[in-house]
């Protein structure tokens, strides 16, 4: 009677946990106590006490699972396991190879993921004071959105140090494009102007020279790369360099120091450092106290990060100062950003110093997905193949069991074997990762990951990978194999793999994963072609350009080039497509609307091949066209203009009328979406770019002549021009690199899936060897045997591919939508190729296996011993 009142769950738990030989006594005592308690204290209390008692039974002397694992101490047995593992590995070289190869390839990719993540998240973490340095940013309203900006008003830095004693150090950063001359070396360079504190705040040690030299206005500090570029391996400290800031403005600097090579990875760096006071040298009219102009960055270092709050509170007065002078850039608030997370946020914060993109952070996620896909494939292979090879070791297991091995011991043996294989795979994988995968990846995306094998974090990460792989791949086979009973093994009634649902599900999963990877590889290749052929919105072929910072020289060059009969047309402009574009703000009644601006002359459209949608281009003869603009189609759509022609906009307190609309064209590469753009007529004397359209086939001659004229007109300056088709740098290369990468990954995936299938079919065929032999003696042909084997895969393949095909389609589609702004329209070619490839692999594998059986003498398969 009492048994019904016992808390049944606890009763069952106790029954399950307790050593069987103790259960009668202990449960008897508990139950007697329970009955007594019901009488004296009531049922509730009795049940409570019972539960407590059961929980307190969880101790080694009671629990059945707590058997002292005697086999741990037996070194002899361990040795024996090791030996048998080694033997079975060597005995089946094919399956050992499949396992080792698969696992090490997957581990190699894991190491790549680690290296890449380390690189990305380790950005700039070598600065000792990184937790104390903050970038001043401000929020400004742009087209209805609050945009955070990394630049700051020019006087801000100095006022901050005067107003807040909490600020320990402060530096401003501003960059200038200059020409640097040293002896016979003349190059276009970018110098970084900073305060003296720059080298104190950031950990950039010097190889030669002294960091205090940055305090002197006549000193210049070089990066290691620049020192080598100009002076080779010599110590250049004390040498002089001429910096040409612009027309007739140049200054001689003494080299005060040379930096040590920057650690990888770094976002903040410099080529040349000079004191920021030189801003007034570069531009004598410049007013350091002008709130309406900006420096690229203002950084402060505070000793106590809590002081930051009090500083932030005190920032409001600058807001008023700023908004008083510059009504264009209404600042809504200031904020300080820690430099630790700047690289991750660089997509949201507009900064000229930290301008990385967070695509690396997206890439990590992609890589993790890939690595886990490949890891899944490899582990599934391992599982299937372990089960196959176990069928060859049934006798071993039977004998072990009959001489006293318990199930746990056999389980343990197979786990040990698995760990043994995984460890070998780990080292092979490490080798593969460091020597093949990472160099391959670095070559593809063209950067140095600075992978360091002595990084302690790697050695924490690797055992985790090992444990994970070992468990995922090893547990199921070990459980499966150790399950068999001695008698049935020795009797020979154990059948392997015939009706194993799990292996089929696993194979289905493999097919799914492989299908997704193949589809994506095909899509990426298609995308490469698509991007290469995608229209830029203008015609960049046969166009060359040159940048010339002096308007009269530019006009002279234009005249010279026009004498060339291969030149169709020339044009000059202040900004140039693909090279340089301005930002302008259109004042709408209700908001500010930000647009890109190109100031050009009337021939620009014809020379670059821009296409008109409606209205007209500028007319050279009409002086009034200076009060007109031409806009791109996107702008009219964004502003919802039905009749754009004749619409008047207010820009910089002047009115401009729209006279034409062009089709959309790309200034940036296809990574970036097209933005609303206006074209205006350039003011005379402001032009710095010359673009030339050459006759078909003669663009190289025109380019050569352009360089020749340059050398005559500007003997002291390096040539700064190029082909219009090259303005996006290595963008196309990058896109085709993506395709290469995915093709590589897909190839590994196909290989892994193929090998897995091979293992499974081998299992199947060898398990049915006797049946096939009988069929053969009765006259079955090769083809009918193939049919029999195929029959059981047909359904599996059908299901896997019916799920897999749409799954691949949508997986790849969403991946493309994330990765690219413009990409090839989704189509089913990739899916078709994936399905076709997988089916042909199946056919091939089955054919090979059955062929083997067919060739063999059926007597071999039939005889018992």
């Amino acid at each position: 009677m009492s048994q019904d009142q016992l808390p049944s769950r606890f009763y069952r738990l106790f029954q399950w946990l307790c050593k069987p030989d103790l259960f009668e006594e202990l449960q008897g005592d508990l139950e007697e106590a329970f009955d007594e308690n019901v009488e004296t204290h009531g049922l509730r209390h009795a049940r409570m006490t019972y539960r407590k008692e059961v929980l307190k039974m969880l101790r080694p002397s009671v629990i059945r699972f707590w058997q002292t694992p005697t086999f741990f101490n037996h070194t002899i047995m361990l040795k024996n396991y090791f030996k048998t593992s080694m033997r079975s590995l060597l005995k089946n070289p094919t399956s050992s190879f499949i396992n080792l190869f698969g696992l090490s390839a997957a581990i190699g990719i894991c190491i790549l993921v680690y290296g890449f993540a380390r690189w990305t998240y380790g950005m700039d973490d070598f600065h000792e004071h990184r937790n104390e340095i903050y970038l001043a940013t401000f929020m400004a309203d742009r087209d209805g959105d609050l945009q955070q900006n990394g630049s700051s008003p020019r006087p801000l830095g100095r006022m901050l140090t005067e107003d807040f004693p909490q600020i320990d150090e402060m530096t401003r950063i501003d960059d200038k494009q200059v020409i640097i001359k040293s002896g016979d070396n003349v190059f276009h360079e970018r110098v970084r102007m900073t305060d003296q504190a720059f080298l104190k705040m950031f950990t950039f040690p010097l190889k030669w020279g002294d960091i205090s030299s940055l305090g002197g206005v006549n000193n210049i500090i070089l990066s290691e790369d620049m020192s080598i570029k100009y002076f080779g391996d010599n110590n250049p400290v004390g040498e002089s360099m001429e910096v040409i800031f612009g027309q007739d403005i140049s200054k001689s600097f003494t080299i005060g120091g040379v930096g040590v090579a920057f650690p990888t990875p770094h976002a903040l760096h410099f080529d040349f450092l000079i004191n920021i006071e030189n801003l007034t040298v570069a531009d004598p009219d410049l007013n350091m106290n002008d709130w309406s102009s900006f420096v690229a960055a203002t950084l402060i270092k505070v000793n106590n990060p809590e002081d930051l709050h009090s500083i932030s509170y005190g920032m409001d007065k600058y807001k008023e100062l700023q908004n008083g002078v510059d009504s264009d850039w209404k600042i809504s608030s200031f904020a300080f950003e820690s430099i630790v997370t700047l690289d991750q946020k660089s997509e949201e914060i507009r900064s000229q110093v930290w301008w990385g993109s967070n695509s690396n952070y997206t890439a990590i996620n992609f890589l993790i997905v890939i690595a886990s896909f490949l890891m899944t494939l490899a582990c599934l292979n391992y599982i299937n193949i372990s089960i196959v090879s176990a069928s060859k070791r049934l006798k071993e297991i039977g004998i072990r069991k009959s001489i006293g091995a318990t199930r746990e011991v056999v389980l343990f043996q197979f786990l040990i074997e698995n760990i043994f294989v995984t460890t070998i795979a780990l080292f092979l994988g490490l080798l593969l990762g460091v020597k093949v995968v990472i160099p391959w990846f670095e070559a593809i995306i063209n950067f140095d990951m600075g992978f360091n094998i002595y990084d302690w974090r790697l050695w924490v990460y690797l055992p985790i990978v090992l444990l994970f792989t070992g468990l995922i791949s090893g547990v199921y086979p070990a459980l499966y194999i150790s399950k068999f009973h001695v008698v049935s093994i020795l009797k020979g009634v154990v059948k392997f793999g015939k009706r194993n649902m799990l292996t089929k599900v696993l194979l289905g999963l493999q097919l799914l994963v492989a299908s997704i990877l193949i589809t994506s590889a095909v899509m990426f290749s298609q995308n490469t072609n698509y991007i290469a052929e995608r229209s830029w919105g203008y015609d960049p072929m046969n166009v060359v350009y040159v940048q010339f910072n002096d308007a009269t020289g530019l006009n002279r060059l234009e005249e010279l080039m026009l004498q060339n009969k291969d030149v169709i047309s020339t044009t000059t402009s202040t900004q140039h497509l693909g090279k340089n574009i301005d930002l302008e703000v259109i004042g709408l009644p209700d908001r500010d609307f930000e647009v890109q601006q190109l100031a050009v002359d009337a021939e620009y459209f014809q020379t670059l091949g821009l296409r008109l949608k409606e209205g007209r281009f500028f007319d050279r003869e009409l002086e009034s066209d200076h009060q007109t603009i031409i806009v791109n189609e996107l702008l009219t759509k964004k502003l919802g203009l039905e009749q754009p022609i004749g619409e008047v906009f207010n820009i910089d307190d002047a009115n401009y009328e729209i006279i034409g609309v062009t089709e959309d064209f790309h200034h940036d590469s296809f990574h970036e979406a097209v933005r609303p753009t206006i074209l205006t007529l350039a003011n005379k004397g402001d032009e710095v770019f010359l673009a030339i359209r050459a006759r078909e086939g003669s663009v190289d001659e025109v380019y050569a002549q352009l360089q020749k004229h340059w050398a005559v007109l500007q003997p002291n300056e390096p040539f700064s021009g190029g082909y219009q088709t090259d303005v996006w740098g290595n963008y196309f290369e990058e896109i085709s690199n993506h395709a290469q990468f995915w093709t590589g990954i897909a190839m590994i995936a196909v290989l892994l899936a193929g090998l897995g299938l091979y293992g499974l079919v081998t299992l199947n065929v060898s398990g049915r060897l006797r049946e096939f032999s009988i069929r053969k003696t009765l006259g079955a042909e090769l083809l009918s045997l193939i049919k029999i084997v195929l029959r059981q895969y047909t359904l599996l393949f059908a299901i896997a591919l019916i799920i897999g095909a749409p799954a691949s389609y949508f997986a790849v589609k969403s991946m493309f939508d994330i990765a690219y702004t413009y990409h090839v329209p989704m189509n089913s070619l990739g899916v078709i190729i994936a399905v076709g490839l997988l089916i042909s692999i199946l056919l091939l594998v089955v054919a090979i296996q059955v062929q083997k059986v067919a060739k063999e003498d059926p007597v071999k398969g039939l005889r018992l011993e």
């Binding site: 048994q3 006594e25 008897g28 007697e32 106590a33 008692e53 039974m57 101790r59």
Partner: protein, 110 residues
């Protein structure tokens, strides 16, 4: 073996078994101990102590007959072995010896 010396708790368990004489089975020992020590003692903790004592060879056990109570489960009765009795005696002698050597012992209530 971990040695055959007797812990204090084990000593008390042995004594309890002696006290209960023919009726020394798990639940009784548990209740007797809890009462004497004035603290709650779980059956699991008692089991650990009993199994340790059995390992050391101080106690022996046998199953009694089945009864209708406790779900028809048999009781396991414990009794002291010869070496258990010797160990208990030694422990007692040691204590008495030492008590005799204590020069001056009064309980102070102030």
């Amino acid at each position: 073996m971990k040695g055959s010396n007797l812990g204090e708790f084990q000593e008390i368990v042995l004594l309890t078994i002696l006290v209960l004489d023919d009726n020394a089975y798990g639940l009784k020992i548990q209740k007797e101990l809890s009462e004497r020590l004035k603290r709650e003692l779980s059956r699991g903790a008692l089991h650990t102590a009993l199994s340790r004592l059995e390992e050391k060879g101080f106690i022996d056990s046998y199953f009694g007959g089945a009864t209708a109570e406790r779900g028809g489960r048999r009781k396991r009765y414990y009794s002291l072995t010869q070496s258990g009795k010797v160990a208990l005696k030694q422990a007692k002698d040691l204590r008495e010896e030492m008590w005799r050597l204590v020069p001056n012992f009064t309980l102070s209530f102030s």
